[in-house]
């Protein structure tokens, strides 16, 4: 399934990470950080793979655009939440001695894992508070089905 296309009027914002159908601010930067840490909790990844994984796992509803992703990864690295390493990638058919391009891999550090746990707890607590007013998501769906 193709992701939703940007309309020309949104061209100027295509660098921004956002959640489709939600106000733009909801996806920045805290939500993006939570999404990113969660993805890295499953194992080391590199930037482009993270964008694809976020889109795939959310069925196209979360877009980690590179304009947000890479500065955020750098910020996480600066804070010691992720650890980066480089890998040289050679394309098929390239000569043995040809220099490949580099790919930067990120993995969650112990500090990053602790941050993720804190963020998940905070997110769940927030959701529970709001659910007290609007009811949990399941209840809403049941109501709608009736």
């Amino acid at each position: 399934m193709n992701p939703p296309e940007f309309t020309p009027s949104l061209d100027r914002y295509i660098g921004m990470g956002y959640i489709v159908g939600m106000p733009r601010r909801d996806a920045q930067p805290d939500s993006a950080e939570l999404v990113l840490l969660s993805l890295l909790a499953d194992g080391p990844q590199y930037g482009y793979a993270l964008t694809k994984e976020a889109t795939a796992r959310s069925e196209g509803r979360v877009r980690l655009t590179p304009g947000v992703l890479y500065p955020l990864l750098k910020s996480l690295e600066t804070q010691g939440l992720v650890v980066a390493s480089w890998e040289e990638v050679k394309s098929g058919g390239a000569p043995e001695d040809a220099a490949g391009r580099k790919r930067k891999w990120y993995r969650l550090s112990p500090k990053g894992r602790r941050r993720l746990e804190q963020r998940i707890a905070a997110h769940r607590a927030y959701r529970a508070i709001i659910d007290a007013f609007i009811g949990p998501a399941d209840a809403g769906q049941e109501d709608g089905a009736r």
Partner: protein, 440 residues
Amino acid sequence: MSTRPLKLSEAAAPREAADAVASWLRVLEPLLKLPDRERSAIVEELDSHLRERIRDQMLAGVPESQAVRAAIGELGDAALLARRFRAAGRSPLRRLAMNTLVLGVAGAALVTSIVAVRGPGVASNPAVYQPEPAVMKGADGSGKQVVDEIALQGATLEQALMQIAKGAGLKLFIHRDGPGNDGLEEDDSVTLLAHRASLERLFELINEKRSSSAKIDFRVVGSTLEVASRAFFDRRDTQLVSFDIAPILNAGIEADRLIEAITSMVEMEHWEENGGETGRMTVVGERLFVSAPPRMWRQAAWMIEQLGGGQPGHEARGPERAGPTLTAQPILAQRELPILRLRAEKAAADDAANLEKQIKHLRRELAWRKVMLGAELTAEDRAAMDDSRAVKAVGPDDPRRKEVEAEAAAIRLRLFELAHTYDEWRKKGPSGGGEPGPTR
């Protein structure tokens, strides 16, 4: 095979894509203003990302040129991206230290200004920004037109606007941005009972119940009442202004911090830095360029003034200006730089002919700047230089060199944006856009 440092000649990357990516990264790299090692790591990572993205899109059947544009477009504005990288490189402790510094200097400036105005020993009040009215008046100072009687119950917005225009003795013209996009189609009814109310007041009443994205605004031009979404007027009123921020930079406040302070205090949700749609800022040398409607840049100007920007140091260089007021100057009146004639909004380009003209113009200006910088000219540059003029070469030691380089970089970026807009326009065709005429 290539000797270029960006290593873009890998077999998997098509030539055109490699060139476009390399060009874009060459624009980005100097904007990063980070240590060499960090800069090259970022460039290398983005290079890898772009090539994978382009390759994937091409495998999905997207033509190469389109895939290149889309991939680069996803990274957004290079200056903004560079700023994000710089901000990301600061540790939280350093950010805290910088916040403290900004607050300290702002506080000192505030105290100084209050003491200067009131004299020592006089009880001081904080400096207060006087905001523009929520609904702006007409360009001719109108908006004060009075509607004698208006009594509407459950009317549609269009009916209400017609009544208001009629009551004020004006013709109504509604600008529509497009279905669901202009706030003029919000499904609510208008109930108004007013006696001798000004247009300003009537629009305030209409806006009270509307969501922030659906606020409408008006202008009175001659005998016409123009009505549109506030976003529409924001786009139309957007000006590019510049400020001398040398005193602020000299006080040790980094440009990024200044921008962060402004974007977190002034109409926060409307800056591009925060995902907004209306204003954008960038710093070149010791000048802050702001593209925003007056209601936004005037608040930014006030903050800059509070921080010590626009003090006599700048005044001395601006003999045409009088009084210790803001240093904001509309660029059009200030400089001849053609890129600055362009509105920040892509919407300013009305049609393909206009776009082609702008692109040609920018190519010509870029070529002349390359001449000034002593850079090698391509065949395209030579073709673009279809006028004759005498320019002064700026050598490596010339103080103006950095400024000319920054101008050239800005023109390159704008060229890239316009080329993208032009492609979009061609895809959509002339019937894809266009504004409707007056409703009545």
